[in-house]
Structures are given as C-alpha cells and as structure tokens.
C-alpha cells in the first residue's frame, strides 16, 4: 500500500514537472510576453518596456526563470498575476474551489443516473430499458458540452446563482453519463452471469442483495477508473461551460489569462489542474483497492 502510494507520488511529481517545464518553455520561447503589446504603443518608450521586463525578471534566460518559478512554487509562492495584480495562489485556489464544487455536482449527478439505470436494467432485464440505455449512451456521448451549454443558456430563465450552478453541473455531467453508464451496464450485465452471483442466489439471498452487495461491487472498479480519468475532461469542459454561462471558475480564469498572456497565472492554473487530475486518479485507484482486496495483494507481490 505504502509502496503504491510512493510510486504514485513519484509519478505525479514527474508529471507535474514535465508539464510545467514544457508549458513554461513554450510560453517563454515564442511570441512575446505580457509587455509585447506595449511595444506598439507610441506613448511607451522602448526603455520603459525593457525596464518593466527587468522588474518582472523577463530578461533572464528561460532555464533560470523556470528554476526561480519552481523554487518559488515549492515554497508556496506562485508570483503575482500580470493582469489582475494579485497573488496567483489566492486567485487560482478560490476559482478552483468554485469549479471543483460544480465538477463534484456533475460527478454525483452522472453517478446517480448511471447507477440507477444500470441497476434497474440488471434487476429487471427489461428489453426496452436496455435499448433506452443504449440510445442514451449514444446520445449523451455525441452531444458536445458547448452545444449543451448554449441550450442551457437558452433555457436558463432566471440567472440566479443556484439555477446557474445546477445547469452548469448538468451540462458538465452529460458526457460523463455516457462513459459511466456504458461501464455500469456492461459490467453489471457480465457480473450477473458470474459464478459468485449464482452462488449468492443459491444461498437464497434476495435479488436486491445479490445485486447491491455482490454484482455491484464487482462492476464498480472499471467505473472508478473512468471516473478518475474523466476529471481532466471536466476541468477542460469547465472552460466552455463557465465562459458561456458566465460563472467564475478556473475555466473562465484560464480564458482570461490566455487573452492577456498572463504567464504566471497560466502556469498557476496548469499546475493546479495537473495536480488535481493526478489527485483524482490516485484517489480512484485507492478506492479500487479498498473495493477489491485482490488488487492489494497483487501490488505487494
């Protein structure tokens, strides 16, 4: 267990290091910085721009700047946003909290719908329900979030915070429903024909207990895997959903920072997004081990 945790930790640190280094290199190599546009301004002299760049340390080589950024980040200081003039850390964390709560809502909605339909279908084996699930998977997987968010905007009669929250959560949830539902439907369907389920039935357990205690646990692991993987998609999706529905969050902050070429802010967002994704995947893997003890013994041997 500890070994696995250590391995995941090393993997996570490696991933974040590589992602941040590549992003940093890209951002500082090509195309200029936050002060490039000042150069076209006739009222600002070239010396002023150079001075500004020196103040912000933009005249030093890329590797040095990345080193400085990394050292500061490790100490918990992510610098100041060029555009918002506030510390990146506070900005990123407060916006992330808002996106995270919507994403969590989306995951709960998707889980509830997928689990309900999957269990009903496994319990009653209605043919029409199976067909409905199949078409629901097709429909939800091919309805992009940008389309849904615009439909949500058209339907959103009152634009108070609570209804906007729910619309955003539902819009984010729809593509996730497709992947979880597919896993639940197939996984439960397979589990219902397995020997241990037959045994549970033979013991005289009620069908309800058989499904909830035995079949569901067997079907849960692949669901957890895709759920962990879908978190990155949720963060990416929040870019569009937040922009369209006018909510503040990490996605809309990202758009603003790209438009203003606010490099410290972009770096902060990339960092927290990759860290969050890594955390979600690790959590999913941990939950799988709790659910399935066999994985535990596999890891240690």
């Amino acid at each position: 267990m500890l070994k696995l945790l250590l391995r995941k930790l090393i993997q996570g640190v490696m991933m974040i290091l590589i992602v941040s280094a590549v992003t940093f290199g890209l951002l500082s190599s090509a195309g200029g910085d936050a002060f490039t546009s000042l150069r076209d301004n006739p009222q600002v002299s070239a010396e002023t721009v150079e001075n500004l760049r020196r103040v912000y340390g933009l005249d030093r080589p890329v590797v040095t700047r990345y080193g400085i950024w990394l050292w500061n980040t490790v100490r918990g200081e992510m610098g100041e946003s060029f555009y918002f003039r506030t510390p990146v850390r506070g900005l990123v964390f407060s916006r992330f909290a808002s996106t995270f709560s919507v994403s969590l809502g989306a995951i709960l909605i998707a889980m509830a719908i997928a689990a309900m339909l999957g269990i009903l279908s496994a319990r009653f084996k209605w043919k029409w329900l199976s067909r409905l699930i199949m078409s629901l998977i097709l429909l939800t997987s091919s309805t992009p979030r940008i389309v849904l968010a615009l439909f949500g905007l058209a339907l959103l009669a009152r634009s108070d915070d609570l209804s906007a929250f729910f619309v955003a959560a539902i819009v984010l949830a729809v593509p996730v429903i497709a992947i979880i539902l597919a896993q639940f439907h197939e996984g439960l369907g397979h589990a219902m024909n397995e020997d241990f389920v037959q045994l549970a039935r033979a013991k005289g357990l009620s069908e309800r207990i058989v499904i909830l205690r035995h079949a569901l646990r067997a079907a849960l692991n692949p669901v957890l895997t895709v759920l962990g993987l879908s978190f990155g998609g949720l963060l990416g999706g929040s870019v569009l959903v937040e922009t369209i529905l006018g909510r503040s969050g990490i996605g809309s902050l990202m758009v603003a920072s790209v438009r203003n070429r606010d490099i410290p802010l972009i770096m902060g967002i990339v960092l927290i997004a990759s860290a969050a994704v890594w955390l979600a995947n690790t959590l999913a893997e941990f939950l799988q081990m709790v659910n399935d003890k066999r994985l535990h013994s596999l890891e240690t041997t």
């Binding site: 890209l26 090509a30 992009p144 615009l150 369907g189 962990g228 990155g232 990339v270 994704v277």
Partner: protein
C-alpha cells in the same frame, strides 16, 4: 443463437451506414459551400442586421397561389429591438441556378452559378436568408456552410496526424516492451488524464492572439496532434502486445525479417480495424477542440467563418432567446457530426465482430 444475452452489443452493422450517410451529407455540403450559399459569406448588408429568416410563401403579392416560392422583402421597423416587418409589395420568386458572386468551384474551376437565389440587381430587392443574418448583416446560411467547410476539413487532418503519432508510439512501446514500454506508457497515461483543453489553451498563449487563417489552421492542427495522440497509442500498444507472440510473428522473426518490416507488414495490418474504430471516435473530439478555440476567439478569427466563431453570436442570452433556432444552427451541425462519427465507429467495430463471429 436464438436469444442473444441482453448485455452483448450484437451486430449493429446498420449503424455504420447511418453514420456514413450523415457524415457524407455534411461533407458534401461543406465541399459545395460556395455553390450552395446564395451570398458571399463575408458580404455585409448593413441595412439588415440580425434579421430573422426570410419569409418565403407559396403565394404572390396579390394572394394568388404560385408553385414557385416567393420571398418577400423585410424592413427594419425598430432598430433598437431589431424588429422587422414583412414588406408585402416587395416580392421576388426564388430561382435556381442563378448567377451570383464568383468563386472557384472546388478550388479549381471559376464559376458564379449558385443553387438558389433571388435574381434582381436593385439594392432593395428582397434577399433570401434562410437562417437570417448576423449582427453585421451577413447571411448566416452562407456563413454556416463556409464555417462547416473549415471545421470539417481541419478536424480530420488533426485526427490523422495525431493517429500517426499515437500509433507509432503505441506499436514501438508494445513491440519493444521493457523499459521503453514503461517510459512511453507512463507518458501516455499522464497525457490521457491531463486536462487537454487547458493544455491546448496554455500552449495557444505562446502564439500571437490574432493570426491569419492559414496559420491559425496550421497551429490548431499542430496543437491537436500533439495533445490528442495518447488514447490511440494505448490502444495500439495493447493490440500489439496481444498478437506479438502469435505464430506468424514468431515465424517472421525466425526467418530474419527486420523488426520494422514485422511491425508494419505483419502486425499493423492485423490490428488495423480497432485502430480505425478509434480514429472515427477521435474525429468529433478534434472538431470540438477547434470549435472551442474559435468560439473563445483564439482559433480562427473573423471575418473567416468556423462552426466555433459562429456560435459566439449565440452566447448572448437575449439574442439567443429571440432566435434560438437560427443561432443554434451551428450547434446542430456539430451534434450531427459527432453523432455520425459515433455511429460509424460503433457500426464499424461491431461489423468486425460480426464478421469474426460467423467466420
């Protein structure tokens, strides 16, 4: 097999053809965009901003029935609320194969014939705007066709590039195994879980925000290819590993065939069908990435049209509630494309399975 168990997907070959029809129609419309659109997609008609669709009826100004639909002119009655009234006295019949703005058909043959339109050169002649006009008075139907042309051409190019990168990484990893495999698959797994859109945005910030269309298209394709290869790499690696130790591969190795030839002549043809299925699944993802960036104003820029920057107009709630159907028409095209690719992918996958089953 009388009663197939409910959990198997069964043979849904027909899905492939449904999807193929949808995709084919979309591409046909995109390729013939100039011929199908009645107006130049950049031409502004400032007297008619945000107009609703042109009223077309089957009776002329006197109320007599005519088989040929007639378009009526509209007048802007309230410039603030952008309300239009139908001008009954100003009518013109819809005509087919009319001469309009000139273009080069399929990029080669110069032409000026359009499928339909309203003849009449006078500036007050009624215009045929199937989906109305945007805020600058540009014909939305023409813009939709040209936007679809850009988006539908960019996404397969990006998909194919990403697929090539992914398949190369995947088969190398699967065939060589050991340390190469664990390093490459570590990177691939990280890539799958990372929030792609946020990374694309971050990389996009390294380039100037305003870009000419060709550069923008190239940049978008490059960004998608560099971020979208991971899933197909994982699939290719798994497939290679599953047949790496089969007899025909061992036989080829034993007769001294070089590894490169084994990979491309013996292994790759045998794993091509799951890979093709995956490529079809990737198509809508790339369309969406392009759409999202253009929607946010950092992909293809005005006055050029893409499905994404057409949707920017729909992000205004008051406008959206006034003309939901007109403004969401690009969204419908995106949905159809996603649905079509998904159906093709599903059908293609099961087609192979069916084939194996009855072999």
């Amino acid at each position: 097999m009388k009663n197939p168990p409910s959990n198997t997907t069964g043979c849904r070959k027909s899905r492939f053809y449904y999807g193929l029809v949808i995709i084919a129609v979309l591409y046909l419309a995109a390729l013939l965009a100039d011929f199908l659109s009645p107006y130049d997609y950049r031409e502004q008609s400032r007297q008619q901003p945000s107009a609703p669709g042109s009223p077309a009826r089957f009776h002329d100004a006197d109320g007599n029935f005519s088989l040929r639909p007639v378009v009526y002119g509209t007048r802007l009655t309230d410039p603030v609320a952008q309300e239009y009234s139908v001008d009954e006295s100003n009518a013109a019949p819809i005509q087919f194969f009319v001469h309009g703005f000139s273009y080069t058909f399929l990029g080669v043959i110069p032409a000026d014939i359009h499928l339909f339109g309203v003849s009449g050169k006078s500036p007050n002649a009624p215009r045929i705007q199937l989906l109305g006009t945007d805020a600058l008075g540009r014909d939305r139907f023409s813009r939709l066709l040209h936007g679809a042309r850009f988006s539908l051409l960019v996404s397969p190019v990006g998909t194919i590039l990403a697929a090539i990168i992914g398949i190369l990484i995947g088969i190398t990893s699967g065939y060589l195994g050991r340390a190469v495999d664990s390093i490459l698959m570590g990177i691939t797994d990280a890539m799958i879980s990372l929030p792609t859109l946020i990374l694309i945005l971050a990389a996009r910030a390294a380039f100037p925000l305003e870009l000419p269309p060709v550069t923008a298209a190239g940049l978008l394709i490059g960004l998608f290819a560099l971020t979208g290869w991971a899933e197909i790499a994982r699939l290719a690696r798994g497939q290679v590993r599953s047949i790496r130790d089969r007899e025909f591969v061992i036989a080829a190795t034993a007769t001294g065939v070089r590894p490169g030839r084994i990979l491309f002549r013996h292994i790759l043809p045998n794993i091509s069908s799951p890979l093709i299925t995956q490529v079809m699944l990737m198509l809508p993802g790339f369309l969406l990435a392009e759409t999202s960036l253009s929607f946010l104003g950092i992909g293809l820029q005005e006055p050029e049209a893409s499905l994404g920057n057409l949707l920017t107009g729909a992000a205004d709630p008051t406008q959206l509630r006034q003309h939901p159907v007109l403004l969401l028409s690009p969204a419908v095209v995106i949905f159809l494309f996603a649905l079509g690719s998904r159906l093709m992918s599903d059908g293609f996958g099961t087609k192979q399975e069916c084939y194996r089953k009855f072999q």
